[in-house]
Symmetry: C2
Subunit: 337 residues, 2 copies
Amino acid sequence: MTATKPTRVVLYGAGLMGSIIIRYLVEKGFELVGVIDNNPDLVGKDAGQVGGLGRDLGLTVSADADEVLSREADIAVLTLLSLMSDMEPFFARCARHGVNAISTCEEAFYPRTTSPEITDRLDALAKEHGVTLTGSGYQDVYWGNLATVIAGSTQRIDAMEGVSSYNVDDYGIALAKVHGVGMIPDEFQREIADANVPSFAMNVPGWIASQLGLHMTGITQVLMPRYSDHPVKSTTLGRDIEPGQALGMAARATATTEEGIDIVMEVRGVVYEPGDVDLNDWVIRGEPTTAVSVDKPNTVELTCGTIVNRIPQVIAAPAGFTTLESLPPAKYLLPAK
Amino acid sequence: MTATKPTRVVLYGAGLMGSIIIRYLVEKGFELVGVIDNNPDLVGKDAGQVGGLGRDLGLTVSADADEVLSREADIAVLTLLSLMSDMEPFFARCARHGVNAISTCEEAFYPRTTSPEITDRLDALAKEHGVTLTGSGYQDVYWGNLATVIAGSTQRIDAMEGVSSYNVDDYGIALAKVHGVGMIPDEFQREIADANVPSFAMNVPGWIASQLGLHMTGITQVLMPRYSDHPVKSTTLGRDIEPGQALGMAARATATTEEGIDIVMEVRGVVYEPGDVDLNDWVIRGEPTTAVSVDKPNTVELTCGTIVNRIPQVIAAPAGFTTLESLPPAKYLLPAK
């Protein structure tokens, strides 16, 4: 009897999400062969300690990405940044090393709508090197297949309307930045609104339209900053958000399609105050109209869980920048015995 | 340019569900080539009128099943009865005519747990004739893929617990009968409880376990009749249900698996009183625990919608009694232009 060779995984980014993913990978029997991070507080530490396993794994965090990516990993998990413009060099580096990559980068969920040139470049590079690059996480299930599974039971769809909220403080500094956290109105206007930074909501209609075979004719976004009138503590910023500074924002993307189905996604990312909880609701309007609601989803754990469950499908997927609406839904992987 | 040949469909059973399915099929561009029913009130009527289209389709309801099934249909939609023991001859007739079949029969959703011999016989017959036989409907999405999509975002599952309720009065006499509607306690005990009629809940754990690759080690059901203390009008029975007679029942199936994941499904089917609404909730317990809830699902329309959306996948599926956890989720079909 031959033992199955475990899948070799590199983790690229050992921050808030990465540290959870270390534990999830170990629990599910993946072989963690490298952890990359350039944070001096992490470099040289054992990955088992970073992952809160309470034991060493005999593998230390390294800042030398090229060396770690040369360890013949099957896939790299990228928990780094939220925008494709920031992620392109990291995806490209994995591709050049012949390593598949799955990222929590929210825009990578379906980047063709918001960053088509970057996606095309990465797609060509991935095909050249025979690897799959993709994005996944909470959005893959709760902004994607949860809605399309309901669609599959519907006779006629007029509109699909999603709303989701999460605590910006749970996701690290990169995400806080693109939500304008701590900015005064002038800064928010200049750095977020005028810069027309694509919100995470903008990637949802394209993903859904692609899976359902719909053709988008247009998409617009509205960004709605939320300001505090009293100091609110932010662990990510390491300070209070003062009155008049943004706690984050709600972003609503509205897409129209040739087929007459509107797809609307509103994503609310703010630093929570006591009593705020995550929510995730969809209404599929038509015959019949169906509303589905997730009660206080743990978006952080669900992001990490989805990423890890997706690994075997991504390794098996066609080469290219392959978005996951084109595959069956993420499938639960059993923990290792 | 060649026009795509429309898919030819026979409807077998033109009752409550069948009449909706006539309209759904026409709206989605399927070619309805026959409607079978032996109800003398329906035989000879135009299918367009039975389907509430307000116009004739030039196709009349016929009681001659063998003749209608000889019209070279691609698939038959069977909206007849709820148990495999009742459905076997209908499935077999379709197979012998070389016609694929999809049924609203609730047990057909995953009949291997409750009727393995019948399923094996039909599986062999279907393979002999190169056709696919299956069951689908509301359960396919709301008792199946809704739960497994959530599972795909979860790191560790301890238990999956579903509860669903529907109005027995919406589904016709066959379904009312297996819920004990109108029975006094002695009758319920003898005809439902002692007969150990498999409840619809019994078919859910097997479907989920199969899709997730889990191995069931046992399954039990508890049937809990609900009695009224005042008269409740039942349109299906055409009379009041008197105090002391059953309005229906709740059935809870509990399955254990080798992998340590419990799968529990409770199905509440009663004649509704004013204020009662359908519900459909799942809790996936583990890391993390996630609860999802469907608000007042229109179970009748969702059953018909799922059946019609599933048709292309079923025609393309492997021959045999092929349960649908083995295929991707039902996919929304666009209405015809």
